[in-house]
């Protein structure tokens, strides 16, 4: 069975989600629950750290798609950082770098939250 878990941290007013394991159609609901929890608690600046994320399928990508518009409407964003190349390549195959702010490091992503760039990663801009 796939193992997947999410742990939470906070830095500079940004809620950081550390993803561990394999994100597939079985485990995607765990990520969905984590993002819903952040949103319910009023966190709109969400940084997803993928350093320990070993695998992602379209079900996992779909969770980001499902919430990013709502969070941007509230003035926040979901930014993604530290992806392993095999995981980044799946984002890239679907053209996600156009839709999402995907940073090489967590530090880069935190710095991006400081920038006044409301259209960052927005395909319509």
């Amino acid at each position: 069975m796939s193992t997947f878990s999410v742990s939470f941290r906070d830095a500079n007013g940004v809620r950081i989600l550390d993803l561990h394991g394999e994100l597939d159609a079985h485990t995607a609901s765990d990520l969905e629950g984590a993002i819903q929890q952040c949103h319910a608690e009023g966190s709109i600046n969400i940084l997803v750290n993928g350093e320990d994320l070993e695998y992602i399928s379209s079900a996992g990508l779909g969770v980001f798609m499902a919430y990013v518009e709502e969070i941007r409407d509230d003035g926040g964003d979901i930014k993604i950082a530290d992806l392993q190349s095999k995981v980044y390549n799946v984002f890239d195959l679907l053209g996600f770098p156009v839709l999402f702010d995907i940073c090489e490091t967590e530090e880069d992503a935190l710095a991006r939250f400081e920038e006044p760039a409301p259209d960052a990663g927005n395909a319509s801009s």
Binding site: M1, S2, E22, D24, A25, H26, Y55, S57, S58, A59, L61, G62, M65, A66, V68, E69, E70, K86, N89, V90, L93, L94, G95, V98, L99, A123, S124
Partner: protein
């Protein structure tokens, strides 16, 4: 080189996707595919299996999915069979990336990934079962 086949049958539950990926990885690596190409094959098979469980069986976990992996000279083919509702590939529309985030539940990403990761994706419906066959050539350069 004669054809070598390996078969895995799983209950129609998403809990077993990990087992399907492990099965595919083991045999694709043994066949000489590079790790990035094996990653691409794993994703495609995962997406095909997910679609069967979610759509063909509509979440009914009491059914079965058969995964048959065949190795021949120059290519690997993975065929997944189910006895649920058939998928009509002619109804498939490639997702419009620019509008994807406007829909909370974007569809079609899995089929799109399957096509990007494999050299061929073919659907067939027989009287008794549906089959999707995914083919990867050993010299293919699409990898993850």
């Amino acid at each position: 080189m004669p054809e070598t086949t390996h078969t895995l049958t799983i209950p129609s539950s998403l809990r077993f996707l990990h087992d399907v990926r492990q099965f595919v990885e083991k045999h694709a690596l043994e066949a000489g595919f590079s790790q990035p190409t094996v990653n691409a094959i794993k994703i495609a098979v995962d997406e095909a299996c997910t679609n069967i469980i979610k759509h063909s069986y509509a979440g009914d976990t009491s059914q079965e999915v058969e995964v048959e992996l065949a190795l021949t000279a120059g290519h690997l083919q993975v065929c997944l069979r189910d006895e649920g509702e058939p998928f009509d590939p002619s109804t498939y529309q490639e997702p419009d990336l620019a509008r994807l985030t406007e829909r909370r539940r974007p569809g079609g990403l899995g089929v799109h990934l399957m096509r990007r990761c494999m050299d061929e994706v073919q659907y067939r419906t027989d009287q008794d079962f549906n089959e999707v066959c995914l083919t990867k050539r050993l010299n293919s350069d699409s990898a993850v």
